[in-house]
Symmetry: C2
């Protein structure tokens, strides 16, 4: 019997190990979270109440330093959307949990009303320890102290003040390979679920752990080689290595889909100042610690991450990603990368989702709480969140809440979750993903921006989104970064081979799609039981009526196509 | 052709009169609002967007000064619940609209982004006039200026700063028979719909109007007499005349169901200071302008309203009702009627629902923003609303929003609307109404407190609530006050007779129930199309698990009974 489900009950101070239920065996990452949520969480429960759980699950391929395939999924019922939530991140948490043999780590049980705790995991098991001394600390200082206390080989998954305040934009930060707490399970307010159970951090000591056993080591090695070669040979890989995700800025702006001034325009006047090309020039000129190509996890060959340093050689933030450049930059009318980087650092340190906070600030600007383009004003609003003022709590609860409180109609959300940096009116396939994903608006659920289609035309977008959503859900079951998909796509059959060599399961030719479909069906089942209907699978009304410059386009995919998408999942 | 549907388009500055659609003819009040909403509002629309409408409709029996039967219904899609909303009020608006022959007054069309307007209605038609000078004024000062301008015979329906700010707790205040703007269409945020269209006030000059024509004047007179006699003879009538609704305080406290300190207890230590009996003693001792028995509309024989004056003879508020005593009194731990009256006056002047604001303040107290029992602290929070601070906007958006922003789980709402002053754990039939009414938590949708049942037992409550909900929906179609029901219940057939004599329609023996069932079915149809499911027909989770002292009871009506209730409507 394989006791690889670790159950943490902070109120009782216990960590128990349970066998893996048979139905969970062939699941991992996002799929396992969907299954565990259906099995153990009442979909109608109060997400911040005792009935909800928080589940960590590494992907099925995690543990072998396959390039960018060691991601950690976290999930449960979202405090933001009220539906199912899975959010995955890079860094070292996935790998270290796999080394400890943890199939699923489940935070559950009654709520505590006081105290702060940390969970220490090692090959000896788990133990809860007081962590009052970390209360109120940003993730950087908290991580620093934890690394001092537990040594700099441990992994960390921790919350900042945002999670402690149970804010709906709170995520969970993980250490990257340089021990920077910067790889965030950002979306859907999962940090609030740690906060609700007063768990500040998970410390993972995998020093006595071991690499997951392979059913066929030779076969795995061969498949791994084939995958890596395909990935390295793919032209996109080099682009991400040079420009990171920021390479998307010019492209999306070119499509007229760059969120600008609270999604009121799709082209930013100051685009030249925020492109990946410009950032690369700046960082190369600045030199260390700036770094244009940085890996978030050991073994990654893509290295899409970066380190953004100041002109005088201080690290400001790592990484500065496209989504943040869009939401905290152009969306706020801010065209200066240094200003964006400083804002990003402040949001990160609070342990908050920079997409959600950026969108909330855009709505706040529309409500007159800051001027578009005013970075100091934006910083003042982020400081309100840190202080926990009523205004700060509203902003830290995300764009939907901010819009409701201030009576703003132009709010870019689906299922209360903010849209990432692609306006759905001008990249309509991604709009279909926003509308129909059980996760709420989320680019990682099915980004279509690289598809060779006319993004402005409504025809064919639902079908396009459906395919990408299925694939992405599959990758999220494996622990695979969105970019590793380039490699898998050009090495047919290699996922099946890797799974065979790892587990001795033959998932069949369509194993990726089968995992994806199964996951999406479970997620949808959860959401239906939670009270979601077709009405929730919609782009906001104002985006269906208000034309987006420069292409004067609205979101016009017919409702029937959105609803029909599910018939073939 | 009978052009009695008046359509107001503020953006175009027009008031148009349309014929009454055939299907609307035999509908009035709440039922007509449900029909008009289904016919003209997309249930999925943004409630504060251009697709929503605001509909005024007098009840079918309005216009004849039948005792407490001249109520005005207002409704549309609720900004608070996101579902159908009807909220009715006494005062003179219903009667005056009926005198002008207005079957339905519909505010519609594009939104304006600046300016404030008033709508003047008379026998000559409707006209929009600038009303910038009234912007920001409380309802008392605004009403005062309007009465100076238009003479003191007009009716008024107007919003305060709450409606101007489009707050979700904003209602619409109507003049009572003494020209006090105190009869509020309180629930569901309908004031925000006037605010969204920048309409500050409706001025109704019915001086050239006329009493609605009767098909059979003699028959009407006879039926009216029978109704009035039955009403006067009913023992409850005298109780309401003596104590007003405040007579409920001791009774509900005795049931262990009085909301106390944010619905954490069902019995208030300071109950003696807030009973109807005590209030009567206080007001009688104080003398004029205090008045223990005051009519809100001309012709009312019940006179359940009151005027609450200070010890030195100043009017503080009129009326001080039981729901406010509960929500703003015991629910905040405040046991002093003068303090409650002052808070009530401040909330009224903002044009806000005192139930919603009281519940929001209870949640705020739980979040540490005021101490229970601290009336000055509560007043400070109400002042935040007037100032329009972020905290004020949160509180003015109601209890659900306040709970979400501050991370409080103990929030007494259904469909985001706050519960009135009966804890559903100890008066379970009313809990069934809260859960299942398409209106959200609302006592007027089906109060069971006077039924001769054990309110703590779950058995039979769903059936009890169903019957009362049907009757109340019927009364709301007629324009009939909840208390007039005493008279109708003891004069069988009189509603049918009145409708026959008024319209020459024979509604049949069950006309009241038929109107009620038809209305509930339409409302439910609207809500289903808006995305509501059985999940929305639930008492909050914490009330199903957290026992309420003193009877240590939880809300334990099975879900199947809640859902089954609709099968026989």
């Amino acid at each position: 019997m394989d006791e690889r489900v670790w159950r943490v009950n902070v109120a009782e101070g216990t960590v128990r190990r349970d066998p893996v239920p048979t139905e969970w065996e062939r699941l991992g990452g996002r799929g396992l979270i969907a299954r565990a949520s259906l099995d153990e969480i009442d979909p109608t429960c109060d997400p911040l109440g005792p009935g909800n759980k928080l589940v960590w699950a590494s992907g099925l391929l995690v543990g072998h330093m396959l390039s960018s395939c060691d991601r950690i999924s976290v999930g449960g019922k979202s405090p933001l959307t009220g539906g199912i939530k899975e959010s995955n991140a890079g860094g070292s948490t996935g790998l270290k949990l796999a080394y400890l043999g943890v199939k699923a780590l489940i935070l559950e049980g009654p709520l505590l009303s006081s105290g702060w705790w940390l969970l220490h995991l090692s090959a000896d098991g788990g133990a809860l320890q007081p962590a009052e001394d970390l209360a109120g600390l940003g993730v950087h200082e908290a991580a620093h102290r934890l690394l001092e206390r537990f040594g700099n080989k441990v992994g960390l998954a921790l919350i900042g003040p945002g999670g402690e305040m149970r804010l709906q934009a709170a995520g969970i930060q993980n250490l990257d390979k340089d021990n920077e707490p910067s790889r965030i399970n950002a979306r859907g307010g999962l940090g609030a679920l740690m906060g609700a159970r007063r768990l500040k951090a998970v410390v993972i000591d995998s020093s006595q752990g071991e690499k997951p056993r392979l059913a066929d080591a030779e076969g795995f090695k061969a498949a791994q080689k084939r995958f890596t070669q395909a990935l390295m040979a793919h032209p996109q890989t080099a682009i991400y290595r040079d420009f990171g995700t920021a390479g998307l800025a010019a492209m999306v702006d070119g499509f007229g889909a760059l969120p600008t001034c609270n999604f009121s325009i799709g082209h930013f006047q100051g685009i030249e100042g925020i492109t990946g090309e410009h950032m690369r020039d700046v960082l190369l000129a600045r030199g260390k610690p700036s770094d244009t190509s940085h890996a978030c996890m050991a073994g990654c060959t893509i290295r899409s991450s970066n380190v953004f340093g100041s002109a005088d050689g201080e690290k400001i933030v790592s990484p500065l990603e496209y989504e943040t450049i869009g939401l905290v930059g152009s969306n706020l009318g801010i065209g200066d990368l240094d200003q964006i980087a400083h804002l990003n650092a402040a949001i990160d340190d609070l342990g908050l989702d920079s997409i959600e906070v950026g969108a909330a600030l855009g709505v706040a600007a529309e409500a007159g709480l800051m001027a578009f383009g005013d970075a100091a004003g934006a910083r003042g609003l982020v400081d309100e969140i840190r202080k926990g003022t009523p205004l700060g709590r509203v902003l830290g609860s995300g764009a939907a809440m901010t819009g409701q409180v201030f009576g703003i109609r132009r709010v870019p959300v689906v299922k209360r979750q903010s849209m990432p940096s692609y306006d759905p009116r001008a990249i309509k396939g991604t709009g279909v993903t926003y509308a129909t994903s059980p996760q709420g608006a989320d680019h990682t659920a099915g980004l279509t921006v690289r598809a060779k289609v006319d993004h402005l035309k409504p025809e064919g977008q639902a079908e396009l989104s459906r395919g990408v959503q299925i694939n992405m859900a599959g990758y999220d079951c494996l622990g695979v970064c969105i970019f590793a998909g380039f490699g898998f796509a050009s090495a047919p059959g290699v996922i099946r081979e890797l799974l065979m060599a790892r587990y001795n399961w033959d998932g069949g030719e369509e194993v990726l799609q089968d995992l994806g479909r199964q996951t999406l069906r479970m997620e949808r089942e959860f959401n239906l039981a939670a009270g979601f209907t077709a009405v929730d699978d919609r782009i906001p009304e104002w985006m269906r009526t208000e034309p987006l410059p420069p292409h004067a386009t609205v979101f016009d995919i017919p409702d029937e196509e959105l609803d029909g998408l599910w018939q073939s999942v």
